[in-house]
Symmetry: C2
Subunit: 341 residues, 2 copies
Amino acid sequence: MTDAATLLDFDTLKGRIEAIFARAGLAPLHAAALARVIAAGERDGAKSHGLYRIEGCLRTLAAGKVSPDAVPELLDDGSAVIRVLAGGAFSPAAFELGAPLLAERARAQGLAALVINDCVHFSALWPEVEALAAEGLAALALCPSYATVAPAGGTRPLLGTNPFAFAWPRPGGTPYVFDFATSVAARGEIELHRRAGRPLPAGWAIDAQGAATTDPAEALAGAMLPFGGHKGSAISTMVELLAGAMIGDLTSRGALDALGTTTLAPRHGELILAFSPERFAADRPGDPFAAAETLFEAILGQGARLPSQRRFGARETSLRQGIALSAEETALLGRLEAEGA
Amino acid sequence: MTDAATLLDFDTLKGRIEAIFARAGLAPLHAAALARVIAAGERDGAKSHGLYRIEGCLRTLAAGKVSPDAVPELLDDGSAVIRVLAGGAFSPAAFELGAPLLAERARAQGLAALVINDCVHFSALWPEVEALAAEGLAALALCPSYATVAPAGGTRPLLGTNPFAFAWPRPGGTPYVFDFATSVAARGEIELHRRAGRPLPAGWAIDAQGAATTDPAEALAGAMLPFGGHKGSAISTMVELLAGAMIGDLTSRGALDALGTTTLAPRHGELILAFSPERFAADRPGDPFAAAETLFEAILGQGARLPSQRRFGARETSLRQGIALSAEETALLGRLEAEGA
C-alpha cells in the first residue's frame, strides 16, 4: 500500500459517501444504505464495489432512472415469502427493511424467502448473505442483471451476469461466503483488457456474429459467455426464472430493454432465501456447524482456499489500521465531494 | 436403433424390474419405487440411470448396506420444512411419501423444503424435480454423494459429484429441467475412457499426487475436478453444507468413510426445495409462466438448446413406439430375472 494517501475509519468513509449521495438528492434512508455497502466494499478491498460505484449511482440518479426517495414497503402475509416493494429506489434500503423479518421467519419456519421488487441494483450480494449469516442463518441470494451474456450454444446477449451468492455461518468467525457472476468474467474485466490492449482468455466471449473472440472490443459488441459451459448457462437461466419471472419482475432481457443502456444501474428484482440450520438439523445426530467446520478444515488442509478469504484478509487489515485509499481514490472522493458542494 | 431386440411399454418394463427387486428381497414399496425411476431412466434414454443401475442396487442390498424393508416415516411440524426418515432404505419411496405434502406446503407457504434423511441414493434427481413441476411448482434438489472430487486448488477427493437439479413448470409441455453433476464429468465417463484406452480431456481430473492428469487410471486413483473451476467448487461445497451438514446427515467424505467403497450406493440425505410461482408472483404485473416462455423462446431462437431436450425426445419416441432395449440390454434383463428366480 505504498500509494496509500489516506487511512480512514469505516464510519468516516461511510459518512463522506453518505454526504455525497445526500447532496445529490438521495433521501437520507437511501444515502445511508448506499454508503454502508460501498464503504463495506472499500473496507474489504472489493474495489469493483467500492468508491468506483459512486459515479454510476449518481449517473443513474441524474438520468432519472432511480427514485431518490421512494420509501420501501414491507408486505407480509404470514407465509414463508416476505416481499419488499422498493418503488424504483436502490435495493440496499429495501434489503435492510426486509432482512430482520426474513431472519425471524426463517427461524420460525425453517426457511423463508425475501423478494425485493422494483429495485435498482448495483451492489454485490455478499453484504446481504453475510448479514443473514451473522444471524446464524445460511443464505442464498440471486438476481438478474441485464442481457450481456449469451446462453451456451447461443449467439447473442440474453442472460445477465446474474450473480449467485451464498453464506454459511461460522460460529466465532467470518462466514463461508461466495458471490460470483455466472458469466466467465465480469464485464468490467473485459473493459480492463480493452484498455490495456490485452487479448481475452479463450472462452470468455463471442463477437456480434456469435463467433468465439479474444478481442475485448469485439466481445463488448458481442456477448460474454456463462462460466462452466452448459452447466453455468443452466444456473444463469435458473436465476432469470427464480429471481425474474417467478417473483413477477424483469428478466435481464427485460431490464436492458427498459433501460436501453448498460451504463446505468438496471431495475429488476432480487430473491434471497434464508435457512435455519438449527431447525433443519433439529433432532438429528451431530451439530451442523461442527460438521461444516470439519469440511472447511479438510478444504484448507489440502491447500485449497475458501472463497472470500482475500476479502476477509483485507477487512481485517482495514479494521486494524483503517481503510487505505490510494492517492487516486482520495482524489476521486474529494472531487465527488466538491462537485456536490 | 438397429440393435433393438425388444420394444417394451413402460408398465411392462417397470413390472419386470419390480419383480427382480422383489425376488431379491426388497419390500414391495421399495421394489415398485425403484422400478419406477429405473424404467423412467430407460424410457428417457438416460442409460446411466436405466437398467444399468439394477446390478448396483442388488449389490448394495447383498452387501447389507441398504434396508430392504424400512418404512419411510414422515415428520411434519407444520413449518416449511418437512422431513422423511428413510431408515436406511433407498430414497425413491421416501421422496414419494414426502412429495405430496411438500407440494401442498409450497402452495400454502410459497416455498417449502423436503429433507430426506438416512437414505441410500443411486437415482437421478430429475424424476423428483419433474414430479414437482407437474404440480405447477419450481423445484431444486441437491444431495452429496461420496468423496471423489477435489475442491478447486486442492489435491485429494473430498467433495462428491454432488448433483444439482432444477425444474420449472411449462404449462402444456415438458418442464425446463436440468440435472447435472457438479464435477466436470461423471465417474462413469472416466471409467469409459479407461476401458476404451482414450486419454481424458484436460481439466477433468488430478492424479493421486494432486497433479493434472489425462490418464483415466491415474484419475480414478486420484480425484475428479469440479466443473467451472472455483465457482463450481463453491457450488459443490454449498451442496455439502445444505444437503449434508445442515440437514443433519453425512457429507460426501462421511458417506465414503462409512461405506468404504465407491462400488455400492452411498447413504446420506437429500434436500428438495419447492417454490410456488403463483404465490411468488401474486399481485405482481404479468404472468410468471408467460415470462418464462419468452425466455425459453429467446434461448431456442438463437440456436441454443434447453437442457433435457434430448431426454424428452427419447421419451416421446418411447411413449410412441415403446422403450427400445438393445440385444445386450434384453440379455441383461433376462439374466437378472433368471438369477433371481
